[in-house]
Symmetry: C2
Subunit: 333 residues, 2 copies
């Protein structure tokens, strides 16, 4: 049989375009003993994938030209010669951007038996939800009463961070880029929401939204956002640096914040992190998040594109603000 | 009797000049019961004082126009109506920038009985030495085998940091701004020294000096230094942000480093600190440093100006690289 795959046709310069991606058909060989055949049902597109499209040393190897892209995916085992995987079981893997693949099982994780939607394991129960939880709890040492600012608050990670911080007893301020997203965030319980595209001065808007100052900044954006928040951090504030999406498509270096001396004046801690370094805590996170979801205390928002041929558009859409919550591609229809 | 004091005549714009300072004579009243009269013997000038000359909210109140400046000083009690302070005893205080002052004792610290030179309590045994020790041990969690980069390595804090890191079993790379200072740092045992004024690319120079990368950056400078070091930090590196002297005389905001995304890519922690927040650990520091000094394992370098009327020049000289090690003003001659 054939698998449809999306390969990296050429490396993007600036905002990715459709030309960077190529849909191909690849023949899959017959299944050998110890192998399973997986049909992907859902795949994830995430901002961090932009970094892997650059040919540089980083925490994860760059994508290779002409090779299939990779990323989180949820699939169903449709043929098995492996004793641990029965036909019909659901698995997660990092082998997205393709319709089918063959595995020896060591790169698959069986999904638990749960009433949660399968795709939640790519979102609120998966890497983005875990990223929010790690950043707040393990990097920023969140505590009740903190005032928390979340940039890109409508994204998969941001909307999880806002809700986790609210459940921890914090005051939460988010920034986002459209009136519709402002409304959605307010419905999630975010105390103050700034539409950064509609303010003359983001720094002034933060001063108004958080007259008490910011204790924890969950940083997804970088650039002007970081500079504006630094002006309003409280003493001994913590900045968990999860992403800097404002810079991912830079074609030349952009200057950083002019006010980093606030690190000294306010004795701030600023720490970058990668969720995979903390994966040993996934069980603790999943138990907590599963309970919140079962109790209806956290909502999982999704934006869904349909079909592998839409995956590139979904990915590019991440940088154009086209998603509310988790951006997903539904496959296998 | 009269005290000679230096007041802040006007707030500096850019590099301070002699005009910003005014030498005045102030009459001191007769001593009351419970008071002591102190004659200052040494006073400290430190880069952080530049920040107090700006009228802004910070970790310490700004200096007031027309009022005497403040800063570390070592003095001798020359008259006492206080039971705890005998004439001839030596005290440290934050009441520098003046020849004499009257105290009720609560702003004085008696110096221990020690063979160390009095002025070392303004340098290696005092705030600058403690700053180096706190930044390395309590902020950057220094451990044997780390490669440590120290900017402004010839300063009071920097030269202490270099030596403390060497004693901890680290490889130490320093940057400084003259050939003479390069030689002095090499004599202190610093493994590699970069004269940043003589290199085409500081980043390239760091790559050559530290092919194994940097684990700990003791940041005294900011600006281009920070950007260059960020390129060469190792994964999970720690940056103790002590100062950003490159920015203290900025008259307009200068852009920050363009490569802060390294915080994420390399999972770096960057933390600002103020030594006074850690003063409860002074005893631990002083015991360790006192032993190192007694054993001849640490050298204390000093640059001495003479007379209160030279204090402003000494202070301005900090920003012109005129000191090797601790910049001091000897008074009471």
């Amino acid at each position: 049989m054939n698998s449809h795959v999306i390969t990296l046709a050429c490396r993007p310069v600036g905002l990715p375009t459709a030309d960077n991606f190529q849909l191909q058909s690849q023949a899959l060989p017959a299944l050998q003993p110890g192998q399973v055949l997986v049909k992907n049902l859902w795949m994830s597109v995430d901002p961090y994938m932009r970094g892997r499209m650059i040919d540089r040393k980083s925490y994860i190897a760059p994508f290779q030209l002409g090779e299939p892209l990779e990323g989180g995916a949820i699939g169903e085992v449709i043929e098995s010669r492996h004793p641990d995987f029965t036909v019909g079981s659901h698995v997660s893997s990092m082998l997205g951007w393709r319709s089918h693949f063959i595995s020896r099982g060591d790169d698959l994780t069986r999904l638990p038996d749960t009433p949660l939607p399968l795709q939640s394991f790519l979102g609120i129960m998966g890497m983005p939800g875990m990223t929010a939880w790690v950043g707040l709890n393990r990097i920023a040492a969140l505590k009740a009463g903190d005032t928390v600012f979340v940039s890109a608050a409508s994204g998969a990670v941001g909307s999880a961070a806002c809700q986790i911080a609210k459940l921890a007893g914090c005051t939460v301020i988010g920034s986002t880029g459209s009136a519709g997203k402002v409304d959605q965030l307010k419905q999630l319980g975010v105390d103050e929401v700034i539409n950064y595209k509609q303010v003359d001065s983001l720094s002034d808007a933060i001063a108004t939204a958080a007259p008490q100052g910011i204790d924890v900044y969950f940083e997804n954006v970088g650039g002007d956002h970081l500079e504006a928040v630094l002006n309003h951090m409280n003493d001994h504030g913590r900045i968990a640096v999860c992403g800097m999406i404002a810079h991912y498509n830079d074609t030349e270096a952009q200057p950083g914040p002019a006010n980093l001396a606030n690190l000294i004046i306010k004795k701030l801690k600023m720490e970058g992190f990668i969720v995979f370094d903390h994966w040993e805590h996934y069980g603790e996170f999943a138990a907590q998040m599963g309970q919140w979801l079962a109790e209806g205390k956290i909502q999982s928002q999704e934006t869904v594109y349909h079909g592998l041929e839409q995956a590139a558009d979904a990915f590019i859409g991440l940088f154009e603000g086209k998603n509310s919550g988790k951006m997903l591609v539904k496959l296998g229809e």
